[in-house]
Amino acid sequence: MYQIIITSVLIVFSPQTFAYLDPGTGSMILQGLIAGIAVAGFTIKTYWYRILSFFGKAKQTSLLEEEEEGSPKKEDEQ
Protein backbone atom coordinates (compact mmCIF):
# COMPACT_ATOMS: atom_id res chain seq x y z
CA MET A 1 0.00 0.00 0.00
CA TYR A 2 2.83 2.35 0.93
CA GLN A 3 4.34 1.88 -2.50
CA ILE A 4 1.18 3.14 -4.16
CA ILE A 5 1.15 6.26 -2.04
CA ILE A 6 4.83 6.77 -2.46
CA THR A 7 4.99 6.49 -6.19
CA SER A 8 2.36 9.18 -6.39
CA VAL A 9 4.32 11.58 -4.19
CA LEU A 10 7.93 11.87 -5.20
CA ILE A 11 10.52 14.05 -3.63
CA VAL A 12 13.68 15.35 -5.14
CA PHE A 13 16.92 14.38 -3.51
CA SER A 14 19.69 16.80 -4.47
CA PRO A 15 23.00 15.82 -2.96
CA GLN A 16 24.88 18.84 -1.62
CA THR A 17 28.59 19.28 -1.57
CA PHE A 18 29.01 18.98 2.18
CA ALA A 19 26.08 16.77 3.04
CA TYR A 20 28.28 13.83 3.91
CA LEU A 21 25.50 11.69 5.38
CA ASP A 22 23.53 9.28 3.29
CA PRO A 23 20.07 10.66 3.95
CA GLY A 24 18.34 7.48 2.81
CA THR A 25 15.86 7.64 -0.04
CA GLY A 26 13.01 6.35 2.11
CA SER A 27 13.69 9.04 4.73
CA MET A 28 13.68 11.81 2.11
CA ILE A 29 10.43 10.63 0.55
CA LEU A 30 8.76 10.20 3.93
CA GLN A 31 9.36 13.86 4.77
CA GLY A 32 7.36 14.86 1.72
CA LEU A 33 4.59 12.48 2.71
CA ILE A 34 4.20 13.77 6.24
CA ALA A 35 4.86 17.47 5.61
CA GLY A 36 1.24 18.26 4.71
CA ILE A 37 -0.16 16.73 7.88
CA ALA A 38 2.61 18.31 9.94
CA VAL A 39 1.80 21.77 8.55
CA ALA A 40 -1.92 21.25 9.16
CA GLY A 41 -1.23 20.02 12.70
CA PHE A 42 1.00 22.94 13.51
CA THR A 43 -1.48 25.45 12.07
CA ILE A 44 -4.32 24.03 14.15
CA LYS A 45 -2.13 24.04 17.25
CA THR A 46 -1.13 27.67 16.64
CA TYR A 47 -4.78 28.76 16.38
CA TRP A 48 -5.73 26.70 19.41
CA TYR A 49 -3.08 28.41 21.52
CA ARG A 50 -4.22 31.77 20.21
CA ILE A 51 -7.69 30.95 21.50
CA LEU A 52 -6.27 29.81 24.84
CA SER A 53 -4.19 32.96 25.01
CA PHE A 54 -7.32 35.05 24.28
CA PHE A 55 -8.89 33.52 27.40
CA GLY A 56 -5.78 34.26 29.39
CA LYS A 57 -4.43 30.73 29.34
CA ALA A 58 -1.33 31.60 27.38
CA LYS A 59 0.93 28.76 26.36
CA GLN A 60 3.89 28.74 24.06
CA THR A 61 2.88 28.00 20.49
CA SER A 62 6.02 26.11 19.67
CA LEU A 63 7.78 23.55 21.81
CA LEU A 64 10.95 24.91 20.30
CA GLU A 65 10.59 28.33 21.87
CA GLU A 66 13.00 28.64 24.72
CA GLU A 67 11.76 27.62 28.13
CA GLU A 68 12.17 30.17 30.86
CA GLU A 69 15.55 30.19 32.48
CA GLY A 70 15.65 28.03 35.59
CA SER A 71 12.18 26.63 35.07
CA PRO A 72 11.94 23.51 37.18
CA LYS A 73 12.24 20.18 35.46
CA LYS A 74 9.18 18.00 35.76
CA GLU A 75 9.29 16.40 39.16
CA ASP A 76 9.20 12.74 39.98
CA GLU A 77 5.73 11.41 40.37
CA GLN A 78 5.96 8.59 42.80
Binding site: V12, A38, Q78
Partner: protein, 475 residues
Protein backbone atom coordinates in the same frame (compact mmCIF):
# COMPACT_ATOMS: atom_id res chain seq x y z
CA UNK B 1 47.82 15.02 6.84
CA UNK B 2 50.88 15.54 9.00
CA UNK B 3 49.14 15.75 12.34
CA UNK B 4 46.79 13.22 13.82
CA UNK B 5 43.13 13.98 13.51
CA UNK B 6 41.31 12.66 16.54
CA UNK B 7 39.76 9.31 15.58
CA UNK B 8 36.33 10.71 16.44
CA UNK B 9 36.27 13.23 13.60
CA UNK B 10 37.05 11.48 10.34
CA UNK B 11 33.54 11.38 8.90
CA UNK B 12 33.02 15.00 7.91
CA UNK B 13 35.23 16.19 5.01
CA UNK B 14 34.71 19.87 6.01
CA UNK B 15 37.49 19.65 8.58
CA UNK B 16 38.72 17.67 11.53
CA UNK B 17 39.55 17.88 15.21
CA UNK B 18 43.03 17.44 16.60
CA UNK B 19 44.71 17.81 19.97
CA UNK B 20 47.88 19.66 20.83
CA UNK B 21 49.22 20.30 24.33
CA UNK B 22 46.04 18.97 25.93
CA UNK B 23 43.91 21.45 23.98
CA UNK B 24 41.46 20.50 21.24
CA UNK B 25 41.51 22.39 17.93
CA UNK B 26 39.42 22.16 14.82
CA UNK B 27 40.84 22.64 11.34
CA UNK B 28 38.52 23.93 8.62
CA UNK B 29 39.52 22.72 5.19
CA UNK B 30 39.77 24.97 2.13
CA UNK B 31 36.81 23.25 0.51
CA UNK B 32 34.53 24.47 3.29
CA UNK B 33 36.00 28.01 3.39
CA UNK B 34 33.10 29.77 1.69
CA UNK B 35 30.46 28.04 3.81
CA UNK B 36 32.40 28.75 7.00
CA UNK B 37 32.87 32.45 6.23
CA UNK B 38 29.22 32.82 5.31
CA UNK B 39 28.17 31.00 8.45
CA UNK B 40 30.33 33.24 10.65
CA UNK B 41 29.11 36.45 8.99
CA UNK B 42 25.45 35.41 8.81
CA UNK B 43 24.87 36.22 12.47
CA UNK B 44 23.85 32.62 13.19
CA UNK B 45 27.04 31.81 15.07
CA UNK B 46 26.60 34.85 17.34
CA UNK B 47 22.95 34.06 18.03
CA UNK B 48 23.67 30.41 18.86
CA UNK B 49 26.61 31.26 21.12
CA UNK B 50 24.61 34.04 22.77
CA UNK B 51 21.77 31.62 23.55
CA UNK B 52 24.25 29.12 24.99
CA UNK B 53 23.37 26.59 22.28
CA UNK B 54 26.82 26.36 20.67
CA UNK B 55 30.33 26.47 22.11
CA UNK B 56 32.22 29.66 21.31
CA UNK B 57 35.57 29.43 19.57
CA UNK B 58 38.62 31.54 19.00
CA UNK B 59 40.26 31.82 15.58
CA UNK B 60 43.88 30.80 16.12
CA UNK B 61 44.87 30.55 12.45
CA UNK B 62 47.48 33.27 12.95
CA UNK B 63 49.17 31.39 15.79
CA UNK B 64 51.89 28.79 15.31
CA UNK B 65 49.59 25.86 16.11
CA UNK B 66 50.46 23.05 13.73
CA UNK B 67 47.98 22.19 10.98
CA UNK B 68 47.31 19.67 8.27
CA UNK B 69 47.37 20.30 4.53
CA UNK B 70 44.39 21.97 2.86
CA UNK B 71 43.96 24.18 5.92
CA UNK B 72 41.80 27.28 5.72
CA UNK B 73 41.31 28.11 9.39
CA UNK B 74 42.21 26.68 12.78
CA UNK B 75 39.79 27.37 15.61
CA UNK B 76 40.09 26.67 19.32
CA UNK B 77 36.63 25.81 20.68
CA UNK B 78 35.75 26.35 24.32
CA UNK B 79 37.11 23.52 26.45
CA UNK B 80 34.69 20.80 27.54
CA UNK B 81 36.46 19.21 30.52
CA UNK B 82 34.85 15.77 30.26
CA UNK B 83 33.46 14.23 27.08
CA UNK B 84 30.47 12.00 27.73
CA UNK B 85 28.49 9.86 25.32
CA UNK B 86 24.73 9.41 24.76
CA UNK B 87 24.74 5.90 26.22
CA UNK B 88 25.93 7.45 29.49
CA UNK B 89 23.11 9.98 29.67
CA UNK B 90 19.95 9.60 31.69
CA UNK B 91 16.58 9.72 29.94
CA UNK B 92 16.11 13.47 30.48
CA UNK B 93 19.64 14.24 29.36
CA UNK B 94 18.98 12.52 26.04
CA UNK B 95 15.63 14.30 25.77
CA UNK B 96 17.18 17.71 26.49
CA UNK B 97 19.95 17.04 23.96
CA UNK B 98 17.28 16.16 21.37
CA UNK B 99 15.36 19.39 22.05
CA UNK B 100 18.58 21.42 21.81
CA UNK B 101 19.28 19.90 18.40
CA UNK B 102 15.78 20.82 17.18
CA UNK B 103 16.00 24.34 18.65
CA UNK B 104 19.30 24.85 16.84
CA UNK B 105 17.71 23.58 13.64
CA UNK B 106 14.88 26.11 14.04
CA UNK B 107 17.22 29.06 14.66
CA UNK B 108 19.44 27.90 11.79
CA UNK B 109 16.47 27.82 9.38
CA UNK B 110 15.55 31.36 10.43
CA UNK B 111 19.03 32.41 9.31
CA UNK B 112 18.96 30.44 6.07
CA UNK B 113 21.00 27.52 7.39
CA UNK B 114 20.31 23.88 8.15
CA UNK B 115 21.98 21.19 10.25
CA UNK B 116 23.75 18.77 7.94
CA UNK B 117 23.92 16.15 10.69
CA UNK B 118 22.01 15.44 13.89
CA UNK B 119 24.39 13.20 15.78
CA UNK B 120 23.89 12.91 19.53
CA UNK B 121 27.69 12.95 19.78
CA UNK B 122 27.57 16.61 18.72
CA UNK B 123 26.06 17.44 22.09
CA UNK B 124 27.89 17.64 25.40
CA UNK B 125 26.84 18.90 28.82
CA UNK B 126 28.23 22.15 30.19
CA UNK B 127 27.08 24.01 33.33
CA UNK B 128 24.19 21.57 33.70
CA UNK B 129 22.85 22.11 30.18
CA UNK B 130 23.37 20.50 26.80
CA UNK B 131 25.52 22.42 24.33
CA UNK B 132 26.31 21.78 20.67
CA UNK B 133 30.02 21.35 19.96
CA UNK B 134 30.25 20.92 16.18
CA UNK B 135 30.74 24.32 14.54
CA UNK B 136 30.96 22.69 11.10
CA UNK B 137 27.48 21.14 11.21
CA UNK B 138 25.84 24.08 9.45
CA UNK B 139 25.35 24.52 5.74
CA UNK B 140 23.20 26.90 3.68
CA UNK B 141 19.58 25.83 3.46
CA UNK B 142 18.37 25.19 -0.07
CA UNK B 143 14.63 25.71 -0.31
CA UNK B 144 12.87 22.54 -1.34
CA UNK B 145 15.42 20.01 -0.15
CA UNK B 146 14.28 17.73 2.70
CA UNK B 147 16.39 17.43 5.86
CA UNK B 148 19.38 15.21 5.15
CA UNK B 149 19.78 14.38 8.84
CA UNK B 150 16.14 13.41 9.50
CA UNK B 151 16.95 9.72 9.66
CA UNK B 152 19.98 10.34 11.87
CA UNK B 153 17.89 12.41 14.28
CA UNK B 154 15.34 9.60 14.58
CA UNK B 155 18.06 6.98 15.12
CA UNK B 156 20.12 8.99 17.61
CA UNK B 157 17.32 10.56 19.62
CA UNK B 158 13.71 9.59 19.01
CA UNK B 159 14.20 5.81 18.76
CA UNK B 160 16.21 5.46 22.00
CA UNK B 161 13.86 7.83 23.85
CA UNK B 162 10.79 5.87 22.76
CA UNK B 163 12.41 2.56 23.70
CA UNK B 164 13.53 3.90 27.09
CA UNK B 165 10.10 5.38 27.83
CA UNK B 166 7.91 2.59 26.50
CA UNK B 167 9.93 -0.62 26.81
CA UNK B 168 12.78 -0.35 29.31
CA UNK B 169 15.01 2.54 30.32
CA UNK B 170 18.01 0.20 30.06
CA UNK B 171 17.60 0.10 26.28
CA UNK B 172 19.47 3.41 26.03
CA UNK B 173 22.53 1.20 26.17
CA UNK B 174 21.73 -0.12 22.68
CA UNK B 175 23.57 3.03 21.57
CA UNK B 176 26.81 1.34 22.61
CA UNK B 177 26.22 -1.31 19.95
CA UNK B 178 24.88 1.03 17.27
CA UNK B 179 27.22 3.99 16.90
CA UNK B 180 24.99 5.73 14.34
CA UNK B 181 21.88 5.37 16.44
CA UNK B 182 19.37 2.57 16.86
CA UNK B 183 18.26 1.17 13.49
CA UNK B 184 14.62 2.13 13.01
CA UNK B 185 13.68 -1.41 11.96
CA UNK B 186 14.98 -2.66 15.32
CA UNK B 187 13.21 0.11 17.24
CA UNK B 188 10.02 -0.63 15.31
CA UNK B 189 10.11 -4.32 16.16
CA UNK B 190 10.86 -3.70 19.85
CA UNK B 191 8.22 -1.03 20.47
CA UNK B 192 4.85 -2.26 21.75
CA UNK B 193 1.89 -2.53 19.40
CA UNK B 194 0.18 0.44 21.07
CA UNK B 195 2.79 2.77 19.59
CA UNK B 196 1.32 2.00 16.16
CA UNK B 197 -1.65 4.11 17.24
CA UNK B 198 0.56 6.99 18.32
CA UNK B 199 0.83 9.34 15.34
CA UNK B 200 4.37 10.56 16.10
CA UNK B 201 5.85 7.11 16.60
CA UNK B 202 3.82 5.57 13.79
CA UNK B 203 5.26 8.06 11.29
CA UNK B 204 8.77 8.83 12.54
CA UNK B 205 9.62 5.26 13.61
CA UNK B 206 7.31 2.58 12.19
CA UNK B 207 6.49 4.08 8.79
CA UNK B 208 10.03 5.45 8.58
CA UNK B 209 11.44 1.94 9.08
CA UNK B 210 9.06 0.58 6.45
CA UNK B 211 10.07 3.30 3.98
CA UNK B 212 13.73 2.50 4.51
CA UNK B 213 13.06 -1.15 3.83
CA UNK B 214 11.03 -0.34 0.71
CA UNK B 215 13.71 1.92 -0.72
CA UNK B 216 16.74 0.05 0.59
CA UNK B 217 17.94 -0.80 -2.90
CA UNK B 218 16.74 2.40 -4.52
CA UNK B 219 20.22 3.82 -4.99
CA UNK B 220 21.36 1.03 -7.26
CA UNK B 221 18.52 0.59 -9.71
CA UNK B 222 17.91 3.11 -12.48
CA UNK B 223 14.13 2.80 -12.44
CA UNK B 224 13.77 3.58 -8.81
CA UNK B 225 11.77 6.30 -7.19
CA UNK B 226 14.92 8.12 -6.22
CA UNK B 227 15.95 8.65 -9.80
CA UNK B 228 12.52 9.41 -11.07
CA UNK B 229 12.16 11.80 -8.17
CA UNK B 230 15.22 13.64 -9.36
CA UNK B 231 13.61 14.02 -12.74
CA UNK B 232 10.26 15.03 -11.31
CA UNK B 233 11.14 17.25 -8.44
CA UNK B 234 8.41 17.56 -5.86
CA UNK B 235 10.01 19.76 -3.28
CA UNK B 236 9.54 20.09 0.43
CA UNK B 237 8.67 23.68 1.31
CA UNK B 238 10.39 25.50 4.15
CA UNK B 239 7.05 25.60 5.98
CA UNK B 240 6.79 21.84 5.58
CA UNK B 241 10.30 21.35 6.90
CA UNK B 242 9.64 23.59 9.91
CA UNK B 243 6.44 21.70 10.62
CA UNK B 244 8.35 18.40 10.54
CA UNK B 245 10.85 19.83 13.02
CA UNK B 246 7.90 20.87 15.24
CA UNK B 247 6.42 17.42 14.85
CA UNK B 248 9.72 15.85 15.95
CA UNK B 249 9.81 18.18 18.96
CA UNK B 250 6.32 17.07 19.89
CA UNK B 251 7.34 13.42 19.48
CA UNK B 252 10.42 13.94 21.68
CA UNK B 253 8.48 15.80 24.38
CA UNK B 254 5.70 13.23 24.48
CA UNK B 255 8.14 10.48 25.50
CA UNK B 256 7.82 10.46 29.26
CA UNK B 257 9.59 8.24 31.73
CA UNK B 258 8.58 8.17 35.37
CA UNK B 259 11.45 6.79 37.42
CA UNK B 260 10.19 3.87 39.54
CA UNK B 261 11.61 2.96 42.92
CA UNK B 262 14.69 0.83 42.39
CA UNK B 263 17.40 -0.66 44.50
CA UNK B 264 19.13 2.68 44.94
CA UNK B 265 16.37 5.11 44.03
CA UNK B 266 15.58 5.70 47.70
CA UNK B 267 19.10 5.18 48.94
CA UNK B 268 19.43 8.26 51.07
CA UNK B 269 16.28 7.40 52.93
CA UNK B 270 17.44 3.86 53.54
CA UNK B 271 21.08 3.68 54.58
CA UNK B 272 23.00 2.70 57.64
CA UNK B 273 23.50 6.28 58.55
CA UNK B 274 21.66 8.15 61.18
CA UNK B 275 21.14 11.83 60.31
CA UNK B 276 23.99 12.70 62.63
CA UNK B 277 26.52 10.39 61.03
CA UNK B 278 25.51 11.52 57.52
CA UNK B 279 26.34 15.06 58.61
CA UNK B 280 29.60 13.77 60.01
CA UNK B 281 30.43 12.02 56.74
CA UNK B 282 29.63 15.22 54.82
CA UNK B 283 31.91 17.18 57.11
CA UNK B 284 34.76 14.68 56.71
CA UNK B 285 34.49 14.55 52.91
CA UNK B 286 34.49 18.36 52.80
CA UNK B 287 37.45 18.44 55.15
CA UNK B 288 39.47 15.85 53.20
CA UNK B 289 38.91 17.62 49.89
CA UNK B 290 39.94 20.94 51.48
CA UNK B 291 43.15 19.30 52.63
CA UNK B 292 44.24 18.55 49.07
CA UNK B 293 46.70 21.28 48.19
CA UNK B 294 46.55 20.79 44.43
CA UNK B 295 43.97 22.14 41.99
CA UNK B 296 41.09 19.73 41.41
CA UNK B 297 39.98 20.33 37.84
CA UNK B 298 38.05 17.11 37.40
CA UNK B 299 36.82 14.85 40.21
CA UNK B 300 35.08 11.54 39.57
CA UNK B 301 32.41 10.58 42.08
CA UNK B 302 31.99 6.85 41.49
CA UNK B 303 28.86 5.25 42.85
CA UNK B 304 27.50 8.77 43.27
CA UNK B 305 23.86 7.77 43.63
CA UNK B 306 21.84 11.01 43.32
CA UNK B 307 24.95 13.14 43.73
CA UNK B 308 24.67 14.21 47.38
CA UNK B 309 28.44 14.09 47.91
CA UNK B 310 29.19 15.25 44.37
CA UNK B 311 27.70 18.56 45.42
CA UNK B 312 30.09 18.78 48.35
CA UNK B 313 32.99 17.94 46.03
CA UNK B 314 31.72 20.63 43.62
CA UNK B 315 32.79 23.26 46.17
CA UNK B 316 36.40 22.18 45.66
CA UNK B 317 36.52 21.10 42.01
CA UNK B 318 36.12 22.56 38.54
CA UNK B 319 33.85 19.69 37.54
CA UNK B 320 32.52 16.65 39.37
CA UNK B 321 31.60 13.74 37.09
CA UNK B 322 28.89 12.12 39.16
CA UNK B 323 28.51 8.51 38.02
CA UNK B 324 26.22 5.71 39.04
CA UNK B 325 25.01 2.36 37.72
CA UNK B 326 21.36 3.12 38.45
CA UNK B 327 19.36 5.00 35.76
CA UNK B 328 16.88 6.21 38.40
CA UNK B 329 19.61 7.76 40.54
CA UNK B 330 21.23 9.41 37.49
CA UNK B 331 17.88 10.76 36.35
CA UNK B 332 17.20 12.29 39.77
CA UNK B 333 20.71 13.66 39.92
CA UNK B 334 20.20 15.38 36.54
CA UNK B 335 16.77 16.78 37.42
CA UNK B 336 18.24 18.26 40.56
CA UNK B 337 21.11 19.74 38.55
CA UNK B 338 18.64 21.40 36.17
CA UNK B 339 16.62 22.95 38.97
CA UNK B 340 19.28 24.15 41.41
CA UNK B 341 22.97 25.02 41.76
CA UNK B 342 25.76 23.95 41.80
CA UNK B 343 26.02 23.51 38.04
CA UNK B 344 29.53 22.05 37.90
CA UNK B 345 28.24 18.49 38.33
CA UNK B 346 27.86 16.06 35.42
CA UNK B 347 25.54 13.15 36.20
CA UNK B 348 26.30 10.08 34.09
CA UNK B 349 25.36 6.45 33.92
CA UNK B 350 28.41 4.25 34.45
CA UNK B 351 28.51 0.57 35.30
CA UNK B 352 31.92 -0.01 36.86
CA UNK B 353 31.50 -3.79 36.53
CA UNK B 354 31.49 -3.28 32.74
CA UNK B 355 32.35 0.36 32.04
CA UNK B 356 31.80 2.09 28.68
CA UNK B 357 34.00 0.37 26.09
CA UNK B 358 35.91 1.99 23.23
CA UNK B 359 33.70 1.82 20.15
CA UNK B 360 33.61 2.71 16.47
CA UNK B 361 36.12 2.28 13.69
CA UNK B 362 39.27 0.57 14.98
CA UNK B 363 37.76 0.85 18.46
CA UNK B 364 38.89 4.45 18.58
CA UNK B 365 36.01 6.72 17.66
CA UNK B 366 34.62 6.87 21.19
CA UNK B 367 36.96 6.38 24.12
CA UNK B 368 36.40 3.89 26.88
CA UNK B 369 35.69 4.98 30.44
CA UNK B 370 39.25 4.06 31.37
CA UNK B 371 40.72 6.20 28.57
CA UNK B 372 38.66 9.18 29.69
CA UNK B 373 38.89 8.41 33.38
CA UNK B 374 42.11 10.30 34.28
CA UNK B 375 41.19 12.87 36.87
CA UNK B 376 42.59 14.74 39.86
CA UNK B 377 40.63 12.88 42.51
CA UNK B 378 38.22 10.01 42.90
CA UNK B 379 35.43 9.92 45.43
CA UNK B 380 34.43 6.32 46.22
CA UNK B 381 31.88 6.42 49.01
CA UNK B 382 29.81 3.39 50.01
CA UNK B 383 31.17 1.70 46.90
CA UNK B 384 33.98 -0.68 47.75
CA UNK B 385 31.73 -3.41 49.23
CA UNK B 386 29.78 -3.57 45.96
CA UNK B 387 32.93 -3.91 43.89
CA UNK B 388 34.60 -6.37 46.26
CA UNK B 389 31.63 -8.50 47.29
CA UNK B 390 28.87 -8.16 44.67
CA UNK B 391 31.38 -8.32 41.82
CA UNK B 392 34.10 -10.42 43.53
CA UNK B 393 36.75 -7.86 42.50
CA UNK B 394 39.95 -8.32 44.54
CA UNK B 395 40.74 -5.22 46.64
CA UNK B 396 44.17 -4.94 44.99
CA UNK B 397 42.55 -4.62 41.57
CA UNK B 398 40.23 -1.90 42.81
CA UNK B 399 43.20 -0.03 44.29
CA UNK B 400 45.21 -0.53 41.08
CA UNK B 401 42.53 0.95 38.84
CA UNK B 402 41.88 3.93 41.10
CA UNK B 403 45.62 4.62 41.34
CA UNK B 404 45.90 4.53 37.54
CA UNK B 405 43.12 7.11 37.19
CA UNK B 406 43.68 9.59 39.98
CA UNK B 407 46.30 11.19 42.17
CA UNK B 408 43.95 11.57 45.12
CA UNK B 409 41.35 9.23 46.53
CA UNK B 410 38.64 9.75 49.12
CA UNK B 411 37.33 6.29 49.89
CA UNK B 412 35.04 4.75 52.47
CA UNK B 413 35.55 1.25 53.84
CA UNK B 414 32.33 -0.53 54.77
CA UNK B 415 32.98 -3.53 57.09
CA UNK B 416 31.17 -6.85 57.11
CA UNK B 417 29.42 -5.87 60.31
CA UNK B 418 27.60 -3.11 58.41
CA UNK B 419 24.04 -4.14 57.58
CA UNK B 420 24.48 -3.18 53.90
CA UNK B 421 27.34 -5.69 53.60
CA UNK B 422 25.47 -8.27 55.66
CA UNK B 423 22.65 -7.96 53.15
CA UNK B 424 25.02 -8.66 50.26
CA UNK B 425 26.36 -11.73 52.05
CA UNK B 426 22.96 -12.99 53.16
CA UNK B 427 22.33 -15.09 50.07
CA UNK B 428 25.82 -16.29 49.30
CA UNK B 429 28.86 -17.90 50.83
CA UNK B 430 31.38 -15.56 52.41
CA UNK B 431 34.49 -16.20 50.31
CA UNK B 432 36.15 -12.94 51.34
CA UNK B 433 38.46 -13.71 54.30
CA UNK B 434 40.58 -10.61 53.57
CA UNK B 435 37.66 -8.23 53.39
CA UNK B 436 38.36 -6.37 56.61
CA UNK B 437 39.91 -3.05 57.52
CA UNK B 438 43.42 -4.48 57.75
CA UNK B 439 43.14 -6.29 54.41
CA UNK B 440 41.73 -3.14 52.85
CA UNK B 441 44.56 -0.93 54.12
CA UNK B 442 47.19 -3.45 53.00
CA UNK B 443 45.75 -3.72 49.51
CA UNK B 444 45.50 0.05 49.06
CA UNK B 445 48.90 0.77 50.62
CA UNK B 446 50.53 -0.98 47.65
CA UNK B 447 49.28 1.90 45.48
CA UNK B 448 48.55 4.77 47.85
CA UNK B 449 49.86 6.62 50.87
CA UNK B 450 47.15 6.83 53.46
CA UNK B 451 47.14 10.53 54.32
CA UNK B 452 44.18 10.57 56.69
CA UNK B 453 41.90 7.96 58.15
CA UNK B 454 38.98 8.51 60.49
CA UNK B 455 35.99 6.54 61.66
CA UNK B 456 32.69 8.08 60.68
CA UNK B 457 31.13 8.77 64.06
CA UNK B 458 27.82 7.02 64.56
CA UNK B 459 28.62 4.24 62.06
CA UNK B 460 31.09 1.39 61.69
CA UNK B 461 32.59 2.81 58.54
CA UNK B 462 36.02 4.31 58.01
CA UNK B 463 36.85 7.20 55.70
CA UNK B 464 40.28 7.62 54.08
CA UNK B 465 42.16 10.28 52.17
CA UNK B 466 44.87 8.67 50.06
CA UNK B 467 47.50 9.90 47.64
CA UNK B 468 48.75 7.79 44.76
CA UNK B 469 52.32 6.51 44.99
CA UNK B 470 52.68 7.02 41.24
CA UNK B 471 54.60 10.19 40.55
CA UNK B 472 53.93 10.34 36.82
CA UNK B 473 50.27 11.22 37.20
CA UNK B 474 49.57 14.84 36.57
CA UNK B 475 45.81 14.42 36.62
Amino acid sequence: MTLDALPSSFRDPSGFVFAENDRVYRQINNGFAKHFDQFMSSGLYDVLVDKGYLVAHEDVTASNIQRGPDCYRVIAPEVIPYIAYPYEWSFSQLQDAAMLTLRIQTVALQHGYILKDASAYNVQFRHGKPVFIDTLSFEPYVEGVPWVAYRQFCQHFLAPLALMARVDVGLGKLLVTYIDGIPLSLASSLLPLTTRFNYSLQTHIHLHAKMQETYADAAGTPTTAKNSATKNPRQLSKTGLQAIVESLASAVKSQQWKPPQTEWGDYYDNTNYSDGSTDEKRRLVDDYLSAIDEPLNVVHDLGANTGEFSRIAARHAGLVVSQDIDPVAVERNYRRLVSEPPKNVLPLLQDLYAPSPAIGWGNEERDSFRQRGRCDAILALALVHHLAISNNTPLSRIAGLFAELAQWLVIEFVPKSDSQVARLLQTREDVFPHYNQQGFEEAFSAYFNIVRSEAVAGSERQLYLMRSLRSDLSG
